[in-house]
Amino acid sequence: MTRKIRIAHLSCGSEYSGVQKEIQDAVEAVNAEIVFPEVDTEDIKDAVKEWGLEVASPDLQLMIARAKSIVDGSSPVDAVFISTCFRCAEAAITRSELRRYIHERAHLPVISYSFTERTTAGTLLTRMEALVTTALRRTLLAREKQTGLTAGIDSGSTTTKAVIMRDNEIIGVGWVETTEVLKSAESAYTTALTMAGVDKSEIQALGTTGYGRLLIGEAMKAELIQEELTVNSKGAVYLAEKQKGPATVIDIGGMDNKAIAVIDGIPGSFTMGGICAGASGRFLDMTARRLGVDISELGPLASKGDHNRVTMNSYCYVFGTQSLVNALSLGATKEDVASAACYSVAEQVYEQQLQELEIVAPVIMVGGTSLISGLVEAMQDLLRVSVIVPRYSQYIGAVGAALLASGFINEQQEKA
């Protein structure tokens, strides 16, 4: 049996928000254990002074002292989970700086999360899974080439994607809207197999990812069932041919957004957010419908417009849409409205998520929304770096899964 991964929990407020049990459950679900780094009372003040951030809350000071003990090597851990209350400014500053500090100095995978009393183990599970994978399965993630004949299925909240790969080439793809999880997966898979001209029985290994990964993975007896954070970062650097060195992967999805700082193809730190539909691909989908154009036309339309000519009063899915409708009634062009919608989504992701990461070039945008050129341009404008959108970027999760699944063929062959 593999040993349990030790996740250091640095926290302020989780016990008093009634979510400690949820955190505990999520950690146990990925076969890991929580540890609290030991610190001496006398060392707390010195640690805070040395670190240099003057926070008033003693529990945040304790977090700092614990982080220092991790960095100093006094507390052996495999990964770190930092959690503080949502809407606390003092805690948000401490959380984000500690994340950077631990990641840079201790080279450990770190995730941070701001919770409310509504946070559940389910919400935390994908993050914990990714944290454990990056800590534990570095060899699997180090794979740079796809070998043999493998398949990957990415079951997203909006669309399901499938990819067939042979000897490091993509030979078949399938893409359907997600309705019933299993049926959609089978449909996308069949399309990809037909395009590749291979039979399901020939597939040597299958990998699944996305929201429906467990259901599909179990039903189809997948060799690899993996959350989308690690799979997507792998897929992104693979497709963009940026497997060595640092990279930043941005994936604006239908239900949540991921921003991942990758080093040599392995996620170092990441943020996963998205309570708000106004910062999602769905907002753009809805805008396209309002404008009476296909989603594929929204990007080029936005490229021709100027977002500055439309006043967006809100980032909200409902009120933001209202602003767009008002602008149209006041004579704004479709191009300007499309541009404003793209800018609104990009700006929200930029303000709420990307601030927590160090954005290092190359920046790679993936997922279905990366095909909306106006959104990519808006992101480029905000980040002031050029953004790479690799070919097959919409199949990112499926490609990552097919690539990583090929690691299991070798394992089986070695066993045989």
Binding site: S14, Y16, G18, Q20, P58, F86, E90
Partner: protein
């Protein structure tokens, strides 16, 4: 005997002195004891559930962090029962229930706005200050006894 809320509410020194001078200290430890004995709730370590931050809405709106509201919910029975209060400042090693600066600010404000006798002082750092500290607490406790007798 008067019920005296002590703050920090987990203070050994305050709980001891108040009891020593004949009154009942209202402390966090008693709240926690009740909490962890609640039957049918399994939310370790201290059985605070998402319901507690909701109860904390009594003191602060939903835009105040859940950790503040959860802690306020724990303090609520102490604040409600308090007939007098002793607040000690410079309690910079208070973690857990007392570990959030915003909660401590709000709790002290709420206590100060209650119409009850109150003593505020700082932690002593030497023998002379400690003598003064103990004397002030004794005198405060004495004054409460006489008031209690008069009202009775």
């Amino acid at each position: 005997m008067v019920k005296i809320l002590v703050y920090p509410s987990n203070s050994l020194i305050l709980a001891d002195l108040v009891a020593r001078f004949g009154h009942e200290p209202l402390t966090m430890m008693r709240v926690i004891r009740r909490k962890i004995k609640e039957v049918g709730i399994d939310s370790p370590p201290i059985n605070v559930t998402p319901e507690d931050p909701k109860r904390g809405l009594k003191y602060a709106a939903v835009d105040v962090p859940s950790g503040v509201r959860g802690r306020m919910a724990l303090l609520d029975p102490l604040i409600e029962e308090a007939e007098a209060a002793i607040i000690v400042h410079e309690a910079d090693y208070s973690f857990g229930c007392m570990g959030c600066a915003r909660t401590n600010e709000l709790a002290k404000y709420v206590i100060r706005n209650k119409d009850i006798p109150r003593l505020e002082l700082v932690y002593p750092t030497n023998d002379d200050e400690a003598r003064e500290f103990v004397r002030k607490i004794r005198d405060f406790c004495k004054s409460l006894t006489s008031t209690a007798e008069v009202t009775a």
